[in-house]
Symmetry: D2
Subunit: 338 residues, 4 copies
C-alpha cells in the first residue's frame, strides 16, 4: 500500500523504514531535505516540495503527518488546498485531542478524511513495532488496516491473554480503533498520564532504597532538623542497579519501564549525567484536566505531574512563603540551601 509521510524526525523516519521493510511504497517529505536522503537510499521516494509530494500520491491519497504538535496546523494549512475529496490525512503526532475534533470538523466540507493516531513505542518502535491508538471513521480505518498491521508490533510481541481465542483481533496485534475523531489521541493521552505515574512510582521507590543509608549520614543536631529515632534501621547500602535487574524476573513490578531503569542504572548507578530537571510535553497535563472535567480523582497521576513541575523550580516562591511564615510565627531561621 502507498503512504506519504510528512515529517522525518526520529519517529517518522523509523516508521517509514518499518513500512518499506514490509513492502509498502513510501513517498516522503520533510522541510529539511537532508532528512530524506537516508530514506531514499532505503527505497523511499523523496519530494522537492509539498506540491511534488502530493502529486506523487495515488488517489485517494494517504498522507501521514509525524510532526511536532505545534507544527501540525501550519502544515495542514498548506496541505489541505492540495488535497481532493476522498483523500485521507493521518495525524500520528502528539496532538491534543481537542485539536482533532476541530480539524476533523474543518476538513469535513472538503470531504477529506481525518484520522488521529496516538503512537507509543518511542525510539524502539522500528524494531519492536508501534502501539497504535486510533480515532476516526470505521470505513477509513478498514482501508488503512494494512498500514496499521505493519506498524504494530504483532501478536507475538506478548503471550496471548488467557481467555482469548479465535483469530487474534486488532488489539492483540497492537492497534485499536478506539472510537470517533479524537479517541485515538484521547487514549494516547491517558496512556501517557499512566506512564508519568508509573515512572514516578519507580523513581520514588528507588529513591527510598538509595536513602536507606540515612542512619549512616551525619545529621545536624538543631531545632530545624528532625532527629532520626532509630538510625540503626537505616544502615543499608543498597545496590539499586542490581535491584532493578533483580525485579525484572518474577516480581510483580516487572515492566518495560523497569527494563529501561535497569539499563540506565547499570550504565550509571548515580545517573550523574542528568540534573533532574524533568520536562513534560503536555499529555500528563491534559490527562489531569480530563480527570478534573470528568470529576474523577487522579491523585497519583496528579502527584507525578506536580513533581515534574517542582523539579523545574516552579514551587520556589511557594517555598519561600513557607519559610517566611515559619519565621513570622516561630522565629525559625531558614537553613542554607545544600
Amino acid at each position: 500500500m502507498q503512504l506519504g509521510m510528512i515529517g522525518l524526525g526520529r519517529m517518522g523516519a523509523n516508521m517509514v523504514e518499518r513500512l518499506l521493510a514490509a513492502g509498502h511504497d513510501c513517498v516522503v517529505y520533510d522541510a529539511h531535505a537532508a532528512a530524506m536522503m537516508d530514506l531514499v537510499g532505503k527505497g523511499a521516494e523523496g519530494s522537492d516540495s509539498l506540491e511534488a509530494f502530493v502529486r506523487k500520491l495515488e488517489k485517494p491519497r494517504l498522507v501521514w503527518l509525524m510532526l511536532p504538535a505545534a507544527v501540525v496546523d501550519p502544515v495542514l494549512d498548506d496541505l489541505t488546498p492540495l488535497l481532493e475529496p476522498g483523500d485521507i490525512v493521518v495525524d500520528g503526532g502528539n496532538s491534543y485531542y481537542h485539536d482533532d475534533l476541530r480539524r476533523a470538523e474543518a476538513l469535513r466540507p472538503r470531504a477529506v478524511h481525518y484520522v488521529d493516531v496516538g503512537v507509543s513505542g518511542g525510539v524502539w518502535g522500528r524494531e519492536r513495532g508501534y502501539c497504535l491508538m486510533i480515532g476516526g471513521e470505521e470505513p477509513i480505518l478498514q482501508h488503512l488496516d494494512p498500514i496499521f498491521r505493519t506498524l504494530a508490533p504483532g501478536v507475538e510481541a506478548a503471550p496471548r491473554t488467557t481467555g482469548a481465542s479465535g483469530p487474534p483481533e486488532p488489539a492483540e496485534w497492537g492497534y485499536l480503533h478506539c472510537g470517533p475523531h479524537g479517541a485515538g489521541h484521547f487514549v494516547k493521552m491517558v496512556h501517557n498520564g499512566i506512564e508519568y505515574a508509573l515512572m514516578a512510582a519507580y523513581a520514588e521507590g528507588f529513591n527510598i532504597l538509595r536513602h536507606a543509608d540515612a542512619g549512616l549520614v551525619k545529621r545536624d543536631k538543631d531545632a530545624e532538623t528532625t532527629p532520626l529515632r532509630h538510625p540503626e534501621r537505616y544502615a543499608y547500602d543498597i545496590d539499586i542497579a542490581r535491584v532493578a535487574e533483580l525485579w525484572r524476573r518474577g516480581s510483580v513490578v516487572g515492566s518495560w519501564l523497569l527494563d529501561l531503569s535497569a539499563h540506565a542504572l547499570r550504565a550509571s548507578p548515580d545517573l550523574a549525567a542528568f540534573s533532574g530537571r524533568v520536562s513534560d510535553s503536555g499529555e500528563g497535563r491534559w490527562t489531569l484536566q480530563a480527570a478534573i472535567e470528568e470529576g474523577v480523582p487522579a491523585p497519583v497521576i496528579g502527584a507525578a505531574l506536580f513533581n515534574r513541575f517542582e523539579s523545574r523550580g516552579s514551587a520556589d516562591f511557594a517555598n519561600r512563603l513557607l519559610s517566611a511564615l515559619r519565621w513570622e510565627f516561630g522565629g525559625h531561621q531558614e537553613k542554607p540551601k545544600p
Copy 2:
C-alpha cells in the same frame, strides 16, 4: 540440598513443589496436617510434630518459614529451643524488617543464623519462579545458593539487559543478596510500595477512560454540580478491556500488572464481582513510613496508599466535616449519596 519448610499455604506449598521438581529434598510441616498430604504424594517428607520435623533435618539444619507475618514469632518461640548452633532459619514471609533486626539479634547468642527473604511472584511463582530479595550474612547465603537458584525464575525469564556481559550474576537469575539482616524485607517492602503506585496508576487511567462518556451522562443542573463546559469532548465510549490488551504490545506502559489487568477486564469489563474495598497488608504503609523517616518525598506512593484507606470508608468523618463547613459558611445543602 535438603530444606525444611514450615507453612504450607499457597506460597509455601508451591515453593516446595518447585524445589522437589528440581531434585531437592524437602521435609515439611504445617499445623494443618491435611496441607502436607498433597506434598507428601509429590515426594516431600511429612512430619507429625515440630520436634519430628527438626529431627528429620540434617545438620546444619535449614528451616524455611513461609507463614503469615503475625505467626512467625510464636512459631520461632517453639522452634528455637529445638535448634543447634550453625542451624539456619529463613523467614520468607512478609515480615516487617524491624522484626528481622530484632530476631537476628535474639538468635545470635545461640549461633543460629537468620536470613530474611522477601518473595515476590504470588500464585504464579511455582511456574514463573520467585523473585527473591535476601538479607543476611554472606557465607550463609553462599551456602543457600542452590536453593535460591532453584526458586528464582532464571536468566531466561527476561532478555538480557544491554551492557551486561560475562556469566549472569544472581540478580539476573532473579535473586539478590541485598545487604545485612533486614535488607531483604526492606527491598521487598519498597517493591510493594512501588506495586501499590503502579496499580493505582493503571486504576486511575482506566477510570478516566471509563468516564470519557461524561458528556453523554445527564448532569444535575444546580449550584452544587459543576457544569461540564464542553460535553462534546467527553462523548467517547471506550472499550477499556481492549485498550488494556492493546497496550500490552509495543507501548511504554507494558508490564505484568497490565497483563493481569487485561485478563481481569477481558473476563469482566465491569469488574462487577468486586465492590472496590481495597485491603492493604502493611508493606505500603511501611514504605511510606520509611520515606518519612529518611526525609524523602513519596507523594505518588502516598496517594496510592491513602486511596486504599478511603476505599474502606475511613475518610467518612472528614467528609462529613467538609459538608458541615459548606453548610456553615455558604448554606450549601448536601446532595444525597448516590
Copy 3:
C-alpha cells in the same frame, strides 16, 4: 448612589439590604417576583419586568448581576439590547474568568462596561461585609467606589497589619482592583482553591484525632488486615469539639473556618446529619487547571479536590480494578464493604 440588582437569592438580597442600610438607592429585579417583596418592604424599588427595571435606572446605569453562573449569559442576552453606551454591568456571581474575558469583549462594541467581582463572605456577609475581588477598567471602578466601600467589611474588621501606615487603602477596607477583565474572578477562583485545601486540612486533622482510639477497636486478624503494632499508642478518646474550641485561642491554626468547625462540632460532635458526599461548584477545579497551565505545582489543592470527587463514589471503578488485580496476582479475596 443608585444600583440595580438582578438576582435576589441568598447573596443578592443580603447585598441589597447592606446597600439600603447605608443609604444607597436600589432597584431590584428577580424572575421570582416574591423575592422582591421583602426588599421592597425594606426600601428597594421593585420591577415588573427587565424592561421596567432598566427604565428605572439613571444613566449611566449600574446593573449588578448576582446569579448562578449558568444563568448569567442568558440574562445578559436579554439585558444587553436594553442598555446604552456608558452603562455598566457587574457580574458578582461565581463566573469562570474565561467567561469574563469573552463577555467584556462582546460588550465592548456597544460601549457597555463590564466589571467582574468575586465575592466572598457567604451567608454571613450582610453582617460581616463582603470581601470583593474586582476586575475591570480603572475609571469605571473609581466610579463604583462608594458601592464597593459599603459592601466591604471595613478597616475595623481586622487589626491593621504592622508596617501599614497612612490612610487605609482599599485592600484594607476589604475590596481590591486586582487587574483587567477577569482578574477579579481569577483571584476569587484561587481564593476558593485555597479554601478547599484549608477545609481539607482541618478535616484530615480532626479525622486523625477521632481515630486516635484505633487501638481500642477490635481488628480482624487476617492476611487482609494490617496489624496495629502498638495499640497502646492509639488509646485516646479525644473530644474533638472541645479541641476545635481550644484551638480558636492562641494557636497557630486559628481561622474563620476553625470558628465554623467549632460551631458545627459543638452542635453535633458526630455530624450525623451529614453523609459525607461533598459537592464542588467549580472554582477548585479551575484553580487546579490554572496551576496546570501555568506549570505550577498544587499538590495540596489537588488532593483536596480529588478527595471531594472520591467522596462521591467516582473512584469506584478504579478501586474495583485494584481489588481485581490483588485477586489476579495474589489470590487475595476482597473483604466485604463495611
Copy 4:
C-alpha cells in the same frame, strides 16, 4: 502559685514573664546562666545549679521543662533523682507523644507525676497567650489549673461560639485536658500537621496568583516545553501582597496564618530574603505516621510534608531517574536547570 522553669529560650523565658506578670512565683534554671539574668531582673528567682533549683521549690514541687525535644531525656535523668513522691514534672516542649508514654511509665514507681503539654503560640505567646493541649492525670491537672489559666489566652481572645452558654469552660480559655499521658502532645502533633497543610494551601494559592502572568513570559518552543494554548488568559500581574491584605477581611480564608502572610508579603513582596529551603521539626512526620497507623487518609497533610522534603533537594535522585527514563525510551534530551 510557685513554678520552677528549666529552659529559658524564646518560649520558656516568655512564659515565665507572663506568669510573673500575673503574680506567680517563678524559680528558673538554664544551663546558660546569662539567660536567667533578664528574668531575675523581672522578679524570677535564679539558680546556680539543678540541685539549688530543686531546693528552692516548695513541695510538692512543680517543674516545667521548656527544652528542645532532644534534651528532655538527659535533663530528666539528672532531675529525677532529686525529686520526691508527689512532685510534678511538666514537659511543655515538642516531644513525641511516644516519649511521654515511656516517661510517665518510668516515673510512676517514684510517684512523680508527669504531665505533657503541647504549647502553640510561638514568639507571640507572651502577649497573645499560649494555647495549651494537656495530657495527664486529672487531679494533677486540677492542681495546675491556675498556671494553665494564666498562660492561656483567655476567653476574650475570640468571640464566643454561638451555642456556648454558662461559665466558659477551659477550652474557651485556651487550655484543655485532652486525655491521659501523651494526649496533650498527640493533639499538638495533629495541630502542627494541620498547620503544615494550611501553610501549604496559602503557599500554593499565592504561587498560582504570582504565575498568573505565565502568558506574558516568553516560552521555549521545543518538544520539551508544553505550549500554553491561551496565553491571553494568563496575562495578569497580580499584587499578591495586597491580595493577602484583602482576604483578611470578610473572606472565607481569613486566619492568623493569613495575617502573617500579609505581614511578610507587605515587607517584601518577593520574599527575597528566603531561599525556599523549608525545614520540618517532626510533628508533620509524626502526624502522617499516626494517620498511616490508624488507617486514615491524609493526602493533603502528606502532600504538604513531602513538599518540604522536596524543597530540600531530597527528590533529586528520583528526578534524575525520570530524566534518564525519558532519554531511554524517547531520546528526550534534558533541558538545563534554570
